[in-house]
């Protein structure tokens, strides 16, 4: 097996993991604060669509990324408003966001992109080579990535720092575990949850931008293709820890890249068994002992100061 092949494989695994990881990290913010987020799929799709639309009209990828961030944040705000202020069932809110996002992005995509003939071909985000490191054999590819990948890495580091080494992060965790205790300590549960869900939405939106601006350079209806759900699986798998979740995403990405390569080698296995490989591997890993992960205690429970259940 050649060096190129391995470094191609690494790069492919990474590319397949990046949108998942954005979604998972976005979900992490929300869920650590106690707000369940099944709506990652819809947020990804919204980010993808808005970045495509903006870049299509402005020709500027940065504008695209920025609007994806804002749009993701707005969907997050909607989710927060529904779950935190109105205390709508968090699961239903997420499912509804997915449905609405699927419908609206497809609807708008047809209005915007179909009128102009041919495929939209969007500019791409430039690659940045990190000097010296980019020249290392095999792993060098990891340092020849576009800015969104580096941003993702910094988000992982920053999120870890934020959660465990800042006061706000402490507040966030407290709110997710025992909101009433946080409330009595003078923390505004509502504010923290809003911030968390909106920030999370912004991050997921960037994942959508990556999908469009880095991976395929055009928008397609329902192009998130279930990534939001895999991101949730990764989040649980990674035990709601930024690094753990990222590694779980990497596992999904790497097995996906692997199965595509097995197919490419014409190994005589029905393709369906290869397509299901990432899911099977994850399932076996869970069953085989990586197992137990305890969610934030207050996950999914709306907080109401006047109720007996804290």
């Amino acid at each position: 097996m050649s060096v190129d092949f391995i470094s191609d494989y690494l790069a492919s695994s990474l590319r397949l993991s990046v949108p998942l990881a954005y979604a998972a990290l976005g979900g992490l913010f929300s869920e650590r604060s106690g707000v369940l987020n099944i709506g990652l799929e819809g947020m990804l799709l919204t980010g993808a669509f808005t970045s495509a639309a903006t870049t299509f009209y402005t020709g500027n990828v940065w504008a695209g990324i920025f609007t994806a961030l804002i749009a993701g944040g707005l969907v997050g705000f909607l989710h927060a408003f529904l779950c935190v202020s109105l205390r709508v069932n968090q699961l239903v809110s997420g499912l509804a966001i997915n449905l609405v996002a699927t419908g609206l992005t497809s609807f708008l995509a047809r209005l915007l992109f179909n009128s102009s003939s041919g495929t939209q071909r969007l500019p791409t985000v430039p690659q940045i080579r990190i000097p010296v490191l980019a020249n290392i054999p095999i792993v060098g590819v990891l340092f020849r990535q576009d800015i969104l990948v580096y941003i993702l890495f910094s988000i992982i580091v920053l999120t870890t720092y934020f959660l465990f080494y800042t006061n706000l992060g402490l507040n966030l965790r407290a709110v997710g575990e025992y909101p009433k205790a946080a409330d009595t300590a003078g923390i505004s549960v509502t504010l923290v949850r809003y911030i968390a869900v909106v920030t999370g939405g912004c991050i997921v939106g960037c994942g959508g931008a990556y999908l469009v601006l880095v991976q395929v350079n055009y928008f397609v209806e329902e192009m998130s293709a279930g990534r939001g759900f895999i991101a949730i699986a990764s989040l649980i798998f990674g035990k709601w820890h930024p690094v753990g979740s990222f590694l779980a995403c990497l596992l999904f990405g790497a097995t996906e890249a692997l199965q595509l390569r097995i197919q490419a080698f014409s190994v005589n296995i029905p393709y369906q068994f290869l397509t299901m490989l990432p899911y099977t591997v994850a399932l076996l890993a869970l069953a085989g002992g990586i197992g137990k992960s305890t969610p934030p205690t207050a996950l999914g429970l709306p907080y109401n100061r006047n109720s007996i259940k804290g």
Partner: protein, 320 residues
């Protein structure tokens, strides 16, 4: 926009046709071509049209029977997956004619329309085998079913008619919407050495072609002439004018000449199935060879027949 489906207003006497599409009409490929088919028929023949997109398998029978019940004269089901539903529904509505595109059913009021995908992929196989340096070709599609299998087989037969020991890898992504995955699948194929790629994808096909172009390998367009998507990579395209084919059958139906049979349309109808523009990269001798073979197929000097290979039913070439 061009959402011009008619309402059911009863300007009776008019010929009414409807199409049920498994996917979205904006996919720039299979479903869109079906949609364009009924649009073309409306334009050319003045028929009244209606369509439904995203018909899931659970909805097929409902959609077909509902159109029939509303008095549509012709109901087109766009995809082989409708075959079972057609055989279930058609006997109950003898006043309506059903057409299964890509199907293999026929009956009193059932016809199937099949494009002979294999003929044109055979030609592409010849071109691919002549262009490859690595002796590795690749086929990529969303899912495996009869049409993709036939197309792959044609590609293989064509390639092997040039180079016996050539290798062909195939990848099925399992999801027609997942463009990013299709792109990664292409990259995986390229990284294992494939240097000519034949693809059949909907929304994802531009991603495959552009990736091939970026990586300096060759590819074929499919369904439409896609040479403008990635001029450096696309050698030629397997052009399938489904809209024309559909209009042709609609016209037959309008004239009450449609028969309960399988209409297999191939290279003999260049307005329906043909090779697209050749890229300059494809040398004249190769182009000529492809075109010669095409003529042989049209003249039925080369035909494809059922046979067994390695214990499996498949298709083989028969040269006369």
């Amino acid at each position: 926009s061009n959402q011009t489906s008619s309402t059911t207003s009863n300007n009776s006497g008019g010929f009414k046709i409807a199409i049920a599409l498994p996917g979205v009409i904006s996919d720039k490929a299979w479903n869109q071509s079906g949609y364009e088919g009924v649009q073309l028929a409306k334009q050319k023949l003045g028929v009244e049209i209606a369509h439904v997109e995203k018909v899931t398998q659970a909805d097929q029978t409902e959609v077909l029977s509902d159109f029939a019940r509303r008095g549509y004269n012709l109901v087109i089901a766009h995809g082989g997956q409708f075959d079972a539903a057609i055989s279930q529904i058609a006997p109950q509505f003898l006043d309506t004619f059903f057409i299964g595109v890509n199907g293999s059913v026929s009956g009193a009021n059932i016809a199937s329309l099949r494009i002979d995908h294999l003929q044109v992929s055979y030609l592409c196989g010849i071109i691919a085998a002549s262009m490859t340096k690595s002796n590795k070709l690749a086929y990529i599609a969303g899912q495996e079913f009869q049409a993709t299998q036939e197309e792959l087989r044609g590609f293989e037969l064509g390639a092997k008619s040039i180079k016996k020991d050539i290798q062909i890898a195939s990848t099925f992504t399992g999801d027609w919407n997942d463009v990013a995955k299709a792109k990664e699948a292409t990259l995986a194929l390229i990284s294992t050495g494939a240097d000519v790629i034949y693809q059949w994808l909907d929304s994802a096909s531009p991603a495959v072609l552009q990736t091939a172009s970026d990586k300096g390998v060759y590819a074929f367009g499919n369904t439409k002439d896609q040479s403008d998507v990635a001029p450096k990579a696309v050698l030629t395209s397997a052009v399938k004018h489904l809209d024309v084919a559909i209009t042709y059958l609609v016209e037959l139906a309008q004239k009450k000449e449609l028969k309960g049979q399988i209409y297999k349309l191939g290279l003999e109808r260049p307005d329906i199935l043909t090779l697209g523009k050749f890229s300059q990269i494809v040398s004249q001798p190769i182009q000529k060879q492809a075109l010669n073979t095409k003529q042989q197929i049209v003249d039925k000097k080369i035909t494809f027949v059922n046979c067994q290979e390695a214990g499996k039913n498949t298709l083989c070439i028969k040269k006369v």
